[in-house]
């Protein structure tokens, strides 16, 4: 792979992350869900450097099917923990891309993500979620698909309030 191709992959990956962030900020969760491969997982660990989602609690560890329920729930007229709907602003930076190191993964993208969240209503929370994220991506005829999205929050093991929307 020559340098020009690497730069292409990196900018393509960066564009993908930005597009993903915009879907989340717009609350277009159905379209966000469609970015996941059928065998894709979304993981937000609950311990720094967590290596195992089965033997240790996670903030969230879901396959596409369970994530589908989460997204459907967010579309329900009486999903109280997300009403009024949280408003978010994602910022993705420090993006690097490397070839995938496992079967079915074409590209592994690392980045830093920050999500400012405002929950209107009586709580009127303003919160900042931040951490490193890893996207394992697969190239398909329809475009990149997420095989694993992992978000390692800097405060993953802290006391939290409700996290109603995906980061």
């Amino acid at each position: 792979m020559n340098a020009a191709v690497e730069i292409d992959v990196k900018s393509e990956a960066e564009a993908f992350l930005i597009a993903e962030a915009r879907l989340l900020d717009a609350g277009r969760f159905d379209e966000w869900l469609a970015l996941f491969a059928e065998d894709g997982f979304y993981w937000v660990p609950a311990a720094p450097g967590q290596s195992d989602p089965l033997n240790h609690l996670s903030i969230l560890y879901e396959d596409k099917s369970v994530l589908g329920m989460r997204v459907r729930r967010l579309g329900h007229p009486r999903v109280y923990s997300a009403q009024p709907a949280p408003r978010t602003a994602h910022l993705v930076g420090n993006v690097t891309a490397a070839p995938g190191a496992e079967p079915g993964v074409d590209c592994e993208v690392r980045s830093t993500v920050m999500m400012a969240e405002y929950r209107p209503g009586q709580a009127a929370d303003r919160r900042l979620w931040a951490g490193q994220q890893t996207h394992k991506l697969r190239r398909t005829p329809e475009g990149w698909r997420i095989v694993l999205k992992r978000v390692d929050l800097i405060d993953c093991d802290a006391v939290h309030g409700i996290l109603a929307v995906p980061i």
Binding site: H56, L57, E62, M69, R72, V79, A123, L163
Partner: protein, 441 residues
Amino acid sequence: MPDSIAPDALRRLVLPDRVHRSLYTDPAIFDLEMTRIFGRCWLFLAHESQIRAPGDFVRARLGREDVIVVRARDGRIRALVNRCTHRGAQVCQAERGNTAGFACPYHAWTFGLDGALNSVPHRQSLPPDFDLKDPRLALAAVPRVESYRGFVFGSLAPGGESLVEHLGPIAAVIDNVVDRAPDGEIEQAGGVARQEYRGNWKLHHENANDTLHPGFVHESSVSAARGDPRDYAAPAYDGHQTHTQMLSNGFGVREWQSLSLTGFPAGHSYMGGFYRGGVLSPDRDDPVWREYRARLVARHGEEKTARVLGEDRFNNLLYPNVSINAQYQQIRVVTPLAVDRTRVTAFCFRLKGAPEALFHRAVRFLTNLSSPASMILSDDIEIFERVQGGLANSEPEWLDQSRGLGADRTEAGGRTVSAGLSELPHRAQYAAWLRYMTAAA
């Protein structure tokens, strides 16, 4: 100590069918709860598996006290107040670990695992009668610490009923979770989930055995699960457990009413028959369960195994601070921080001798129910906060808890029993609350 609220004034705030809003909003009542309930009752502190070896410690909160639960060299478990006896700094910052003793970072006073003051620097500058053995110089110790089958409780009252007396029949849930282990032992594992909400601590307990709310509060998760085109025969990373956990709140009123609720004079309560419906029953006919059951039969025999696994009590509240679910080995500790702020700490147990995959189900249950991103607890917490917001209004003054009133049956030992849709657990909790709050020291 605030002792300013007369018993008669408290009695006017708690009636069988209603309680006054000030129980949730008045800081003076909260202060008195910290003295009379959390300052006297047996409170869950830790599980012995967290402090197995000498020097092992874990932090806990006992009422207002920040305590270190520690196993000393002689094997004895103590709960020491995390405050240097010199200038008051905390002597322990870690949540959990192993240590030879506790050294204050400020002026290097050092304390043993039993809390005794071992050394101070620059002895020659202290008065001649300064005595390291003076008990006032040792870390303050919680006066009573007792274990029940590995569950460590502490009480700030120097006397009073024993732990076993306080727990009474609700101790059966501890027996049940331990008896479910093929090796006869359980251990805390898989991490700890912590959440805080802006609401009174009692809102959590009232909600746990309130069977009318799930159909409304959890409608969005039930609906999302029902709309799922799911093939149960297909393998799933979570054994379809997330789906069934969300569905489990979807009983109709007839099913909820067919359950039973039991309350005890000490304030404890549980829901009976919840797993009978089968939706969330851990007793699934799959290879993991069959292997687990076989191992349990090897320990207990068929008859006792059937009895242990057939025990069907959900959301066992051990008043005032802990809730246990034996079927999925879950425990939830409720810590009041202020009249309108509460912390919920949840973890799970590994049943020693059970297949590893069974522990994965406990971890999954914990993630689904107690994580900040829980699709279930998040809606409960949202409602607690809305209740707290609503109760900030001065009118109306009362909260109604009359559902099922008149149908409660009182049985031997003072336990009360009702059908599933009753607010009996509320009434049991407030009868106990009033007794604790008006008891003489």
